[in-house]
């Protein structure tokens, strides 16, 4: 019984791709994704010229802009998407991953979490990156979305995604495991290997009481990941998709035993470097106030998912002096539509549906 269930849910990986085989005769991972989900090719001309800074600039990453005239946001970009559960945030995150892979041949990193697996639509192209420090204790199970069904235990990792690799420490991860043009789901290292070293070597970023240690909650890994990437590279286009950012950098962050507040400061200060080193940060949460305003202030783009009203008029958004929308547009939108905006203008857009390949959630227990 169990093996046939496993067969049912095993991922059919797309291995005939340029990224997997290292041969440019084959279609890219991004092409495969677009074909699977019916996403038309990226065409910046679909957007009106003077609104190109709203969405196209978020997606198309450039090191240099034109010398005059049109505004061009250079380097890494940053975005916060908010919406209620079920409004399509995770689908939008998947969709953005596809676009970034297609347009910039990026290294896309999705925050792996023990409780969620919204990345599953892209599983046939996913490289699972797991910490070597947890290798002996790690186990995976499939939990049905319908709680009346029974879970599937001891699932072989290779059946969950196209590739599985183990990283020794955060430097190894950034330097050798992450690859351009691929979609990675990275699970944090509970041992925080390499993070303290990266922190100590970063001359200009020193905070009282900040330390990375195995006692920290594993979500603190992400502060160190960003730091290591902006300090030590490699400086290829990289995007970090951080779902549930409210539990990583909450408004309520305190200077507690784990130095949470100081780490949020570290993240805030890393934003400028992120832009300059081609690291883009796409954050997702339930509402603006989930995330500490130190970080929120630095984010230049917002997405409002349908089902709740978008802000209007004077600044309801930290870091924005004004909001370009005059009326509420998103309350009446349906899933599959959303509003993207920055301080200067907005665009209402539609995107594709990316369904998960099966009705289970992947739970990876790092022991």
């Amino acid at each position: 019984m169990s093996t046939s269930k496993l067969d049912e849910v095993a991922i059919e990986a797309d291995r005939q791709t340029e990224q997997y085989l290292g041969n440019s005769n084959y279609h890219t991972d991004a092409d495969g994704m677009r074909r699977e989900f019916g996403i038309p090719a990226w065409d910046a001309d679909r957007f009106e010229g003077w609104k190109s800074h709203v969405f196209p600039n978020l997606i198309e990453h450039v090191w240099d802009g034109p010398p005059e005239g049109a505004t061009r946001d250079k380097g890494g970009t940053d975005m916060l998407a908010t919406g209620k559960p079920g409004s399509g945030k995770s689908t939008w995150a998947n969709y953005l991953a596809v676009r970034l892979l297609e347009v910039n041949n990026e290294r896309v990193v999705w925050r792996g979490s023990t409780s969620r697996s919204e990345w599953l639509p892209l599983a046939p192209w996913t490289k699972l990156c797991l910490p070597a420090s947890a290798r002996s204790r790690l186990s995976a199970r499939l939990e049905p979305k319908d709680p009346r069904q029974s879970p599937v235990d001891d699932v072989p990792l290779e059946s969950l995604a196209r590739e599985v690799e183990w990283y020794d420490d955060v430097r190894h991860l950034n330097e050798e495991i992450l690859e351009t043009g691929k979609f990675h789901v990275v699970y944090p290292d509970p041992q925080m290997r390499g993070l303290q070293a990266a922190y100590e070597q970063a001359d200009e970023k020193q905070y009282d009481g900040l330390e990375f240690s195995p006692d920290d909650p594993s979500k603190h890994f992400w502060f160190g990941f960003v730091l290591d990437r902006v300090e030590n590279g490699p400086f290829d286009w990289t995007t970090l998709i951080l779902d549930e950012v409210g539990d990583v950098a909450p408004q309520s962050a305190q200077k507690d035993d784990y130095g949470t507040y100081q780490k949020v400061e570290l993240l805030k200060d890393s934003f400028v470097d992120a832009r300059k080193t081609g690291l883009s940060l796409l954050l997702f949460g339930h509402s603006e106030t989930d995330i500490h305003d130190m970080v929120r202030r630095k984010i230049r783009w917002r997405c409002q998912m349908p089902g709740s009203a978008n802000p209007t008029g004077k600044s309801a958004v930290v870091g924005f002096d004004s909001i370009p929308m005059e009326t509420d547009l998103t309350s009446k939108m349906k899933p599959g539509e959303l509003l993207v905006y920055n301080e200067r203008n907005f665009d209402d857009l539609g995107y594709a549906h990316l369904p998960a390949p099966h009705d289970y959630k992947v739970k990876i227990n790092l022991g």
Partner: protein, 300 residues
């Protein structure tokens, strides 16, 4: 049908315009005296030669486009057709900021009734020699000035505010360079608007001239879609073809057919022009019946 005229025209009603329509006689008709001072204040250039301009898009919008629009309104129009052409130019150059109410009122102004062949609003827009109704010229000019003040200036203000955020800033000597606003070819320096302007002009002209046959009407339907950026009501073009009386008006060459086409243009096409520009400019509508929310969205 009750009238919802803009407030300024109520003034005309109270000044008892509901007199007998003037019977036009071709013999001994006085030439209209255009008061020489109308509009002359707009003859002065907004930008002197040699003056540096750092925000060309804004200067072009305010300096050239809207000034022309205002000047034309204050002078009065030589024909109904001119009013329509002016309303089209206004829609584009105001970036769609003129409220729908104004275009609705214009549309109603072009509808003749048995007891009231020329509506007051239309009378004041036309120059004295072209009116069917007796109006004190001073009252008419004041009405046009009020229209400019109550509707055009606020719309220009809103258009400016929108453009202000989008206009690039140019450094360096503006005069004679490609940034010289007086040399800029495009409306508000936006090629897409210029293109829409052309399409609107030619689609309107085509419509007013009339059509040779049914096929030409159908062909025009496609042009109307482009010219209104998709905002022309569902089935307008097909109704043009299918409704007997409408088709007669479009294909006919009598005077009454011409008038009918003008009414149709004022009532259906021009409001759609305004909506189309508004949609193209990308701002949320203030009107609850805005169709923008129903149209298909751009794919991200």
């Amino acid at each position: 049908m009750t009238d919802d005229l803009p407030p300024v025209v109520d003034v005309l009603e109270r000044n008892s315009l509901r007199g007998q329509p003037k019977v036009r006689s071709t013999a001994g008709r006085e030439q209209a005296e255009l008061p020489e001072s109308v509009g002359s204040v707009f003859d002065e250039p907004l930008v002197d030669d040699g003056e540096e301009v750092y925000r060309p898009a804004l200067v072009r919008l305010v300096g050239q486009d809207m000034r022309e629009i205002l000047a034309d309104l204050l002078e009065g129009f030589q024909s109904r057709r001119e009013v329509l052409e002016w309303a089209q130019r206004l829609a584009v150059r105001s970036l769609g900021k003129v409220p729908h109410d104004v275009y609705d009122a214009l549309g109603r102004a072009f509808v003749s009734r048995m007891d009231d062949p020329e509506r007051p609003l239309l009378s004041v827009l036309l120059v004295p020699s072209r009116r069917d109704r007796d109006v004190d010229e001073e009252v008419a000019r004041e009405a046009r000035r009020r229209l400019a003040g109550e509707y055009l200036l606020p719309s220009a203000h809103r258009a400016l505010r929108e453009l202000r955020a989008d206009a690039g800033e140019y450094l360096g000597d503006a005069v004679g360079s490609s940034h010289d606003p007086l040399e800029q070819r495009y409306i508000a320096m936006r090629p897409a608007l210029d293109e829409l302007d052309d399409r609107q002009q030619s689609a309107l002209a085509r419509f007013l001239i009339g059509f040779n046959d049914g096929e030409a009407v159908l062909e025009w339907g496609g042009r109307a879609d482009l010219a209104t950026h998709g905002e022309i009501g569902d089935g307008f073009a097909s109704r043009c073809y299918a409704e007997e009386s409408t088709r007669r008006a479009l294909l006919g060459s009598r005077r009454v057919d011409e008038r009918a086409r003008e009414s149709l243009a004022a009532g259906y096409i021009l409001p759609a022009y305004n909506a189309g520009v508004r949609v193209l400019s990308g701002r949320a509508g203030e009107q609850p019946h805005e169709t923008r929310q129903d149209r298909e969205r751009t794919t991200a």
